[in-house]
Amino acid sequence: MELIELHGIEKTYQMGDISVPVLKGISLSIRQGELIALTGSSGSGKSTLMNILGCLDRPTTGEYWLDSQETSRLSSDERALLRNRKLGFVFQSFNLLARTSAIENVAMPLSYAAENLSDREARGRAAEMLGRVGLADRLDHYPSQLSGGQQQRVAIARALINRPPVLFADEPTGNLDSRTSEEVLQMFERLNSEDGITIIMVTHDPKVAGYAQRVIRIDDGLIQGDVPAAGPESEAQGGAV
């Protein structure tokens, strides 16, 4: 079984008496170690799909198997545990805690982890993560003292602190200029190739999608295209399914 498998996922929002179907039956499988871009125009349902993939939301019907576990009927507490252990999130607007140092921002998810790390172990792990994203000398800086690219790298370190197999990035470069965007995307590639982390990026920027090995295009609640991207990196990786 693959890392992620979706079978006939549908999501319908109830707006009073009117039901609005957003996802109309999506089936998809994602292997361990893929670098995927999820694209589509706004209103296409890609954010909803992302929320379901990220276990933030539940599908109306359909099955979602994550790491051999059916998740679509889990309670909110069980999904919280799942998010903590298996999923990492990077947001467009970074979402760092203000007036909180980088290292504490990174260590924050550990306080909700089942394994009770001591304070020193937690700081140690957070420092190691910040080192991996190249911010070993910025441990005690506050978000306001960091540039946009640095803030997003802190957010990536935070997403990876619990060593999840899957990393979700929702428009990760939306608030960054082109140079820092490239830095962040290169970091995603490195994490993907060196650590084998499955990365799913939601974007409508073709340049970002260009870094992916596989581009899934959503339109009007259905998958309209699922193709291996023609980027040089993806060729080096040997393509995707």
Partner: protein, 456 residues
């Protein structure tokens, strides 16, 4: 470990907005401060009250004659004359719980020395036992009168400090003669100062003499008159029909001159006394002493089983209880006011926590996205509220304690530190935090992470 981390997170969250946190806790600070100050001042005054009452002789019992009544109208305690000096002696002889007892006869009249005069507040005719009952045996000067003086009706007296000051202007009165209603008394001793009692009455404004002397020479000088003004008025009033309002008693016998009265006092029918002051062996035996005296006096007064007592016994313990009830009531009242301010403070906490929850919606969403469960969020905000309240409580304890010390220093009020008050304050402030922090925390825990992350 997790609670510790949560508490630290809460501290950090509060430190991000210290001014707001300070203002929020102000309600709790004032509330807890008020509670502490009230409890300390209350405890101090009630214990000083107890001390005062103990120094007054907490084991003293006062027996007074009962009420007279006529045609359904009762005239109040002391209107019958049922107590006799023999009752007093019997109490002393037959009640083992009684340590000493003294009869008391009162008078209120002018005392003259040289060209100065004074009307003492208290003029008691009694026996030497009175000094023992009142714990007043040590005299400032001279010596007390004896039982022989009582038997003979000798004209001797003991003066309180106020009288010494008013009549003698500081010179020693021992051996001097003073006049009470034109009867000369020799001062043989001076009482030690006792100050005011708890009702504010000057206890030194007192003159003590043998009860026989007061009874037969000063007040009970004849059968028909007990009152000086009535007797003098009677001498020069002509009994005439033109007197529309004859207020005076009509004398059936020719008026005797005061010389005659002094030389040859007419005996009263039986020597009644106004009250008996008895001291129980100790405060614990007061109820036993009351029982024994009640039985004895009922027997001596030949009362049938269905007749009410013709006397009443008052104990200071009752007074003590009444007064301590009063102070407890006052303390509780002030405590209630302080509690109201705590509730108001709690509402302030709730308000600010609600604002804080709204303001930190994105943070809550993020925490949920990285794996915080609803109950983790609930715990975080609840701990934050409790930390806020406990910090306020700690400051309130300092403030309240400081306030009560200041009261002690400036107003000289007695104050007592009470650990119970501090424990209560800590519990109450934590409780306020939990109660008023719960709703905002619960609200935060119910957020949808997707909505929360999208919140601007």
């Amino acid at each position: 470990m997790r609670v510790f981390t949560t508490a630290r997170t809460a501290f950090k969250a509060l430190r991000r907005n210290p001014m707001r946190a300070m203002l929020t806790t102000l309600g709790i600070v004032i509330g807890v401060g008020a509670v502490i100050a009230m409890m300390e001042i209350g405890a101090g005054s009630s214990s000083s009250l107890k001390k005062t009452i103990a120094s007054m002789g907490a084991n003293v019992l006062v027996i007074r004659p009962g009420t007279a009544s006529s045609g359904g109208i009762s005239f109040g305690v002391g209107t019958t004359t049922t107590l006799t000096p023999q009752d007093c002696q019997a109490i002393l002889r037959e009640c083992p719980a009684i340590h000493n007892a003294a009869p008391i006869v009162r008078a209120r009249t002018q005392v003259v020395y040289g060209n100065r005069n004074w009307v003492p507040n208290t003029m008691y005719g009694t026996t030497p036992a009175f000094l023992d009952v009142q714990d007043w045996s040590i005299l400032a000067e001279g010596e007390p009168f004896s039982d022989r003086d009582v038997l003979n009706g000798n004209r001797v007296c003991l003066l309180g400090q106020t009288l010494v000051r008013e009549l003698f202007e500081g010179e020693s009165p021992v051996g001097k003669e003073i006049r009470i209603k034109n009867i000369s008394f020799r001062v043989i001793g001076v009482l030690t100062p006792k100050g005011a009692n708890m009702m504010g009455q000057d206890q030194d404004d007192v003159i003590l003499a043998p009860w026989t002397t007061i009874k037969y020479r000063v007040t009970g000088s004849s059968l028909s008159t007990t009152n000086q003004s009535a007797s003098t008025a009677a001498t020069d009033t002509v009994n005439t029909l033109s007197n529309l309002y004859p207020a005076d008693q009509i004398s059936l016998y020719p008026e005797r001159s005061s010389v005659q009265q002094a030389d040859n006092p007419m005996p009263v029918r039986f020597a009644n006394i106004e009250s008996i002051m008895a001291a129980a062996n100790n405060a614990g035996e007061i109820s036993l002493a009351i029982e024994q005296m009640t039985a004895l006096l009922r027997e001596r007064h030949h009362l049938r089983a269905d007749e009410p007592d013709d006397f009443s016994i008052r104990d200071m313990a009752e007074l003590t209880k009444t007064l301590s009830t009063t102070t407890t009531l006052m303390t509780n009242l002030l405590l209630a006011v302080a509690m109201i301010s705590l509730v108001v403070g709690g509402v302030g906490i709730m308000n600010i926590m609600l604002v804080s929850v709204t303001e930190r919606t994105r943070e809550i969403g993020l925490r949920m996205a990285v794996g915080a469960r609803g109950r983790d969020i609930l715990q975080q905000f609840l701990v934050e509220a409790v930390v806020l309240c406990l910090t306020g409580g700690a400051m309130g304890i300092v403030l309240g304690h400081g306030g009560s010390l200041l009261v002690q220093l400036l107003l000289k009020w007695p104050v007592e530190t009470s650990p119970a008050a501090i424990a209560t304050a800590v519990l109450v402030s934590a409780g306020v935090g939990i109660i008023f922090g719960f709703y905002p925390a619960w609200k935060a825990s119910r957020f949808d992470p997707i909505e929360a992350l999208r919140f601007e």
